[in-house]
């Protein structure tokens, strides 16, 4: 790169960084600062008031009030989370559900992404479009579509009975099976798109070389294709796993109510029990559980978008 070019780039870079000011301030105000409030309220006592927590932090009262506020903080809510089985079980359930769903998603999504990447070039944008459309369509609507099919006198039971496979309607809704189906259905595009992006970019001559050198198709895939697609696998896995752990809508509408995922527990504490401190503590623990995958995801994004 010529010195002149570098110079031009630097001149451009000076003002460009000022573009960060507005979005930076916005994100600090509406993304970072709110977590301080979550942390703070998670450490306060539940109160029957509006808003339902105490003590309320009062900036105007100065340093004395600040000290008082700190003195009033308690780990009560976190103690509750650890001691009450309900919470521990719902964290565990969330992790298990997310793990199992992510594995299923990978198993189903990979062959689809692989098939897309092997389509003739002019068909690939069409195929990608077809995967993106559901990705843009509301989760709620897509789950509702499944309720139409799975309900007691829904299409699935009608078909099964017409074919004499079952004699009585099967209960599909409010089961774990329905929930897994809903999760896999909703998150499939999130798995396919990063996988496809990696597979489509891959240099096909590497596979050809391996085949020319005598590798069986099976070996070509496992020794060349799959290892080269690992960055896409990582992106897809994180893109699915992290949000599924905190998923609310899908288990709420499709799973039974006897065991809850942590997103549902948080929702219930907040909207039904009006216990904001416990809801906040639940959110803090959920965040702590997700810190490692979130950091991994952040690194991956950064590498992808900024390494050029």
């Amino acid at each position: 790169m010529s010195a002149r070019r570098i110079f031009a780039r630097q001149i451009f870079a000076g003002p460009a960084r000022f573009a960060a000011i507005a979005p930076y301030v916005w994100m600090v105000l509406f993304f970072l600062v709110p977590f301080v409030f979550v942390l703070k309220i998670s450490l306060s006592q539940t109160a029957i008031a509006q808003p339902p927590y105490a003590p309320v932090f009062d900036v105007a009262a100065g340093f004395g009030a600040l000290k008082e506020a700190f003195a009033a903080l308690s780990l009560e809510n976190f103690r509750l989370l650890v001691s009450d089985n309900l919470y521990v079980l719902s964290y565990l359930r969330s992790l298990v559900v997310a793990l199992v769903s992510t594995v299923i998603l990978l198993l189903i999504g990979y062959p689809i992404a692989y098939g897309m990447a092997r389509l003739p070039k002019r068909w690939q944008p069409v195929a990608m479009m077809l995967v993106i459309v559901p990705f843009w369509t509301s989760f709620l609507i897509r789950i509702y579509a499944w309720i139409n099919i799975l309900q007691h006198d829904g299409l699935l039971n009608q078909i099964l009975m017409a074919l004499h496979i079952v004699s009585q309607p099967v209960v599909w809704l409010s089961t774990d099976g329905a929930m897994y189906l809903g999760i896999v259905y909703s998150y499939l595009p999130f798995m396919i798109l990063p996988l496809y992006a990696t597979l489509a970019k891959m240099d096909s001559s590497l596979e050809e070389a391996a085949a020319d050198l005598g590798a069986a198709p099976h070996d070509v895939f496992w020794l060349v294709t799959f290892p080269l697609s690992l960055s896409g696998v990582g992106a897809g896995v994180l893109l699915c796993f992290i949000p599924i752990v905190g998923e609310f809508v899908i288990p709420d509408l499709l799973a039974g109510s006897d065991s809850l995922m942590i997103g549902q527990t948080l929702w219930l504490e907040f909207f039904m029990n009006k216990d904001w401190p416990v809801a906040s503590a639940t959110a803090i623990v959920l965040l702590a559980v997700l810190v490692v995958p979130l950091l991994l995801y952040d690194r991956l994004q950064r590498r992808q978008l900024e390494a050029r």
Partner: protein, 269 residues
């Protein structure tokens, strides 16, 4: 990989994948035209449930609120997201850059219950009246991150020598950006706007936390109806939303085709 021949396995997995993704939606749409009140009994084609929706003031009001929230928050998000993308892909290092990009990427995967709860607690703490504007702020915060990623990936694939040439020819950096860079990234900003709009239109969880009594968005209303069971009117509303989103996507893809014709690769999303 385009040269490789499709194996039977490839064809099978593609067919399965697309059928799996589309069949439920197609069934939902078909049943929205069902004349029968029982969702599962076919009573012939009819527009009855669409009429029902247009005569339901509460639903119409919620839909109107969702469209307004979507349009305003998508516009704010496009502005802020574009600025963020420019700073990250063109700006020199600045203090807190890592924190900045972290804050932009985290909301993409952050469980919605956490984002919603934390914003609500902020609004309560600063005594903001909850309703239309708090939902706008919440959706802007979420969707500007998506816009930033879309625009940033476009900026990354753009040929920088164009900007450099403009400056060599005497443009100052701001003019070089406005006259050269901006026209080239406009299509992806537009695509980002549309993504932001549909995300806002779809969101249930964050809106539930941040809205106030009396101002429900369309997903909030749909959700409370869905909890009570399947109703053909809901099928009709869902079909209308899907149609709206499909139009938005077709426009977005035409726009990004335009952008790929002008530059190099277009961002898929």
């Amino acid at each position: 990989m385009a040269q490789a021949r499709l194996s039977r396995f490839n064809v099978a997995s593609l067919t399965f994948g697309l059928a799996f993704l589309y069949l439920p939606i197609v069934i939902l749409v078909i049943y929205s035209f069902n004349a029968s009140r029982l969702v599962t009994v076919w009573g012939g084609w009819s527009l009855r449930w669409y009429r029902e929706f247009f005569n339901d003031p509460a639903m119409i009001e919620a839909a109107w609120m969702s469209v307004r929230v979507g349009a305003i928050s998508a516009t704010l998000a496009s502005l802020l997201g574009t600025l963020a993308a420019v700073a990250l892909s063109r700006g020199e290092a600045f203090r807190g850059r890592t924190l900045f990009s972290g804050m932009l990427y985290a909301p993409l995967v952050m469980p919605e219950v956490i984002t919603g709860l934390s914003l609500l607690l902020l609004f309560v703490a600063i005594n903001a009246e909850r309703g239309f504007w708090t939902v706008v702020v919440a959706h802007t915060t979420l969707t500007m991150c998506f816009v930033a990623v879309v625009v940033q990936s476009r900026l990354g694939s753009l040929d920088r020598s164009l900007e450099e040439a403009a400056m060599d020819l005497g443009c100052d950096p701001v003019r070089a950006f406005l006259l050269v860079t901006l026209p080239l990234i406009i299509p992806s900003i537009a695509a980002g706007w549309m993504l932001a709009f549909t995300l806002s239109l779809d969101d249930l969880v964050i809106a539930s936390f941040t809205t106030g009594p009396g101002s429900a968005t369309l997903p909030i209303r749909i959700y409370s109806e869905v909890r009570l069971g399947v109703k053909p009117e809901i099928n009709a509303i869902c079909t209308l939303v899907i149609a709206l989103i499909a139009v938005v996507i077709v426009v977005a893809s035409l726009v990004s085709k335009l952008s790929s014709a002008r530059g190099e690769s277009a961002a898929p999303l």
